[in-house]
């Protein structure tokens, strides 16, 4: 079971969090499993604005192949620059 938390922009589509019970081993598989639960969310997550953190470790590259484990907390985080 993996919990995925979302920022406000996703709340209308997915709520603030979704629990994935399907067995997955990578972030790429997790996104596909999420899309089966919340159709269309994979497309939203392909937006470069959003990064993914696993247990508070933010991923900056090699995302889809990163391993996830049962009990992980995954978070979608908008990443941008400021002034």
């Amino acid at each position: 079971m993996i919990t995925v938390n979302f920022p406000a922009a996703f709340h209308s589509l997915a709520g603030s969090s979704v629990t994935v019970r399907e067995s997955v081993s990578t972030v790429g598989q997790l996104v596909q499993a999420l899309d089966r639960l919340v159709p269309g969310i994979a497309k939203e997550l392909a937006d470069p604005l959003y990064n993914i953190a696993i247990n508070d470790e933010i991923l900056l590259h090699g995302v889809d192949a990163r391993l996830v484990n049962d009990g992980d907390v995954v978070e979608v985080i908008p990443s941008m620059a400021g002034g």
């Binding site: 920022p7 406000a8 922009a9 392909a46 937006d47 470069p48 604005l49 959003y50 990064n51 993914i52 953190a53 508070d56 470790e57 933010i58 991923l59 900056l60 590259h61 090699g62 995302v63 889809d64 985080i77 908008p78 990443s79 941008m80 620059a81 400021g82 002034g83």
Partner: protein, 639 residues
Amino acid sequence: MAEMPRTPEFPSQGATLFVDLERRETLTAYTPVGVTRTLLAGRGANMYYLYRLLDETLSPLHPDIPLIFGSGLLTGLVPSAARGNCTSWSPESGVLLDSNAGDYFPSFMRMNGFDHLVLYGKAAAWTMLMIREGVVTFEDGTPYAGLDNIDMRDAVARDTGGKWARNLAMVNITRAGENGVLTSGIMGGPKAIYARGGPGAKMGSLGLKGIVTIAQTREFPTAQPYKPYNRVIAQKLLATSVVKNALSVTGTPFLYKPSRLLGAMGTKNNQETTWSDGLDAQHFDQYRPGMEGCFRCPVNCRPLNDLHSAAPDKYDKGDGPEYVTVGKFGPNLGVDSVESVIRLNNICNDLGLDTASTGSALGWAFELFQRGILTVEHTGGLELQWGDAAMIERLLFMMSVREGFGNVLADSMRAAEKGHYPPEAMQWRIAVKGLGQSDPHDARILKAFALGLAVATRGMDHLRNRATLEINARINDNPAFKAELYGGPVSAEPNSYAQKERAVRACEDIYAVGDSVGMCRFTTKLFNSPSLPGLEEFRSQLANVTGLQFTADELEQCGLNVMGVERLINHRLGVGRKDDTLPARWFDEPNPAGPYKGEKIDRQEFDAMLSRFYEISRLTSEGVPKDEWRKQLAGALGA
């Protein structure tokens, strides 16, 4: 002046107003079209004026060193193009001063028929420059002397009968500018500020308290109809994820969380690199009653704030904070309270203090106090303890009038040079080319970011060239798309040095073009998104508005030219390769937190990356334009 045209060179071009504040005289002329074709307007043409008028044998605050305002070629006409630049020789850093702001003044300058203002000479007494329907008068500024931003804006609206955001706009200094505080900016609105490099001190040295424009908004005569294409640009803006899901709803504080998770959040003057989750963007939500924006910008990215205090004072409400202020007055100073950060932000906006430079000056002093290099004997009995928001508030007011230890802080990154701190203090100064860091991001991990901070012409500032998309995993994981964005392959690994010079070069060029047409950095392609308006959109709308035809490559060359002239100016001020570097801490101390714990800047790798950057930027090994290009630029500048 003799070589400058007396009539517009192309549709929509406004005049350049030369203002002698000592003699109370003005002259008008127009930027030669050859200069426009080389550097565009705004920041670009500002460099033409500074290059021609700079006498480097003087000093930055000498009245013969001009203070120049410039609006972009599209400023006031195109959605999100509401920006202008302010340019001079920086009293804070000693190198180029060039600062960008939006709100309404840059657009309203154009509504009054002026693209550039070139100000020089010292007024005999505090002066207000009034521009009413294009007519310029000098008026007594002494009634406004001693006023900070909130009171001054109230007084000017009352005295002129104008209405902000309708027909009235202003740039003004505060007491900090009057007192020569080197971190003082020129306010361009409740929060908008020409911030970096001490422009407030420069304007104060000329005896100029404010410049007011009063005019109805008007249509410009343009080469061709431009409004249909404005709709294309507006749709592009509003359809972009970073605008609709971040900038328009929360603003820039979103960046705090990824920075702290990455272990890249500059904390306690960059001794540490992560900080409390209490400053994550969502904690500001309860204090944000709405969003505001600049002239004709559909994005509205400026958060308003209201602290709802039980005993409110003038700092209970305000505008902001932006991410930079959250970082510089949060982790940088050991503050973890949202309420404290908002209040300090509101105070800085009133006092006219650049939160980046002011936060840098405070962070440096606090670390020196922590290390025992400064003691209560230096500070007049004040204890500089991390996280003491009440002390920070007190110090801000002391800085603005140069009172007690505030006089030391007011000298910003020059405090050691001016004898306030011992020489060893320089070891812990977080600055490049004499300018404290803008973005509080600790760039020991992100190598494109680090290179950008090192080579930025105005000093340590991310807004000149940050290759922000190096933190976006979806772009890093799509090498072909990333190569298309930057004109060639760039390593996907954030901490790699490979090909990062290419990303910085591309960003520096397009941002310089953006500044020179007046487009906001937040809505310029590559800063926050690959989908925002870029060279193609600028090119199309420049043709409609001005009739000047550019290819995208020619526009990119204009961006490179702007950087080239800036480097020529800096070269005259003694800047060379030795100055394109980073704070010692980033080379010497490993990053102490996060997934990249242990990362630091390798001197040899950095030096090699810098050499590659010079090569693709047509620069010599000393970082100035190579001979052939230099001659071309000199010809275009008439020098």
